[in-house]
């Protein structure tokens, strides 16, 4: 009796494993380009480990794969190093949130008004600049969406700092108050 139950359970588990295997194969087949791009570091809010220092930066702007449609992620240490190297932080939050506190030197480009603001942004920031977008942290998709918009607008070197302003502030790093110039 017990043996029969064990056999049935084993068979059920094996069938479940087969369902998973078939699902994975079909899913990877349908989304193979997405997954390949992901593991090649050509996309994501989610891709290969974030560059932690300039020595590990993926590419210079000219060598960035032309197929990049999504900004790659960067962590806090990487962000600090990149800002010291001259990267431009881009704040995707509202002007009010920017005024209350932002990363030193950050450009304000509110995602909600990006169409009206992008012209001025083009004038201030060259297309060859390395941009790092941020907003209100992990629950906030605006930094990623702004990164996608900037890549579609001709910028080729865009990263996203998913920890956002809260992670920067909570790490005790300096912030700046005041409206965008």
């Amino acid at each position: 009796m017990s043996r029969l139950v064990n056999e049935r359970l084993t068979r059920t588990l094996l069938e479940a494993v087969v369902i998973v295997a078939v699902g994975v194969v079909v899913g990877l087949s349908v989304n193979h380009q997405l997954v390949l791009d992901d593991f090649a570091g050509r996309l994501a809010p989610v891709s290969a480990p974030a560059p932690r220092s300039p020595a590990r930066r993926m590419t210079d702007p000219a060598k960035q794969p032309p197929t990049a449609q999504f900004p790659a992620p960067i962590d806090l240490d990487g962000l600090r190093a990149e800002l010291q190297e001259g990267a431009v932080a881009v704040d995707a939050r509202s002007p009010e949130a920017y005024r209350e506190g932002h990363l030193p030197g950050a450009q304000s480009l509110f995602l909600g008004e990006v169409r009206g603001e992008i012209g001025g942004f083009f004038a201030r920031v060259p297309k060859t600049a390395r941009l790092i977008t941020y907003c209100n942290g992990y629950g906030c998709p605006d930094a990623f969406d702004l990164g996608v918009t900037l890549l579609a607008s001709g910028y080729r070197d865009v990263l996203v700092f998913e920890g956002g302003y809260p992670a920067w502030r909570d790490a005790g790093l300096p912030t700046t108050q005041g409206a965008a110039p």
């Binding site: 369902i19 998973v20 899913g27 349908v30 992901d38 290969a48």
Partner: protein, 139 residues
């Protein structure tokens, strides 16, 4: 058809329908689903896309099998295990104080974590009865 069989088929069809619907919504926008998964901050970055690319098809497959009445025990067991994983992920979000879209049915719904947990508990009940009543429901 006895009441017991009717109850079994109700649980099976509801469970299959829920996961077919959820899987189709997620599969329709894999990038958005990857973003939902990233919000949980549980996986390495690359894995978010990998999971987003494969989980919806697993849900769709298991949902279709349940609706067709094939491999019912395996499909319901698999969905129960997945639901337990989802519950663990949502509990971890609550404990860490994160405010995220659970991504349970694609993006945008953004129910409270407690509502998502309640829904998952209901799914576990459906999976339990589907799994255990399968034999008694055979003609």
């Amino acid at each position: 058809m006895t009441g017991r069989r009717l109850f079994y088929h109700g649980c099976r069809l509801a469970l299959g329908g829920i996961f077919l619907y959820a899987g189709l919504l997620k599969a329709a926008d894999v990038t958005a689903f990857a973003r939902n998964i990233a919000g949980y901050q549980l996986l390495p970055y690359s894995w978010n896309y990998l999971v987003a690319a494969t989980l919806p098809t697993i849900e769709i497959l298991a949902g279709v099998l349940l609706l067709l009445g094939r491999k019912v025990r395996a499909a319901s067991l698999l969905l129960a295990l997945l639901t337990v994983v989802f519950i663990g992920a949502i509990v971890s979000v609550v404990l860490r104080g994160l405010e995220i879209d659970c991504g349970c049915f694609g993006g945008g719904g953004n129910p409270s974590p407690w509502l998502a947990l309640l829904r998952d508990a209901g799914i576990l009940v459906l999976a339990h009865f589907t799994f255990h009543l399968r034999e008694t429901a055979k003609p």
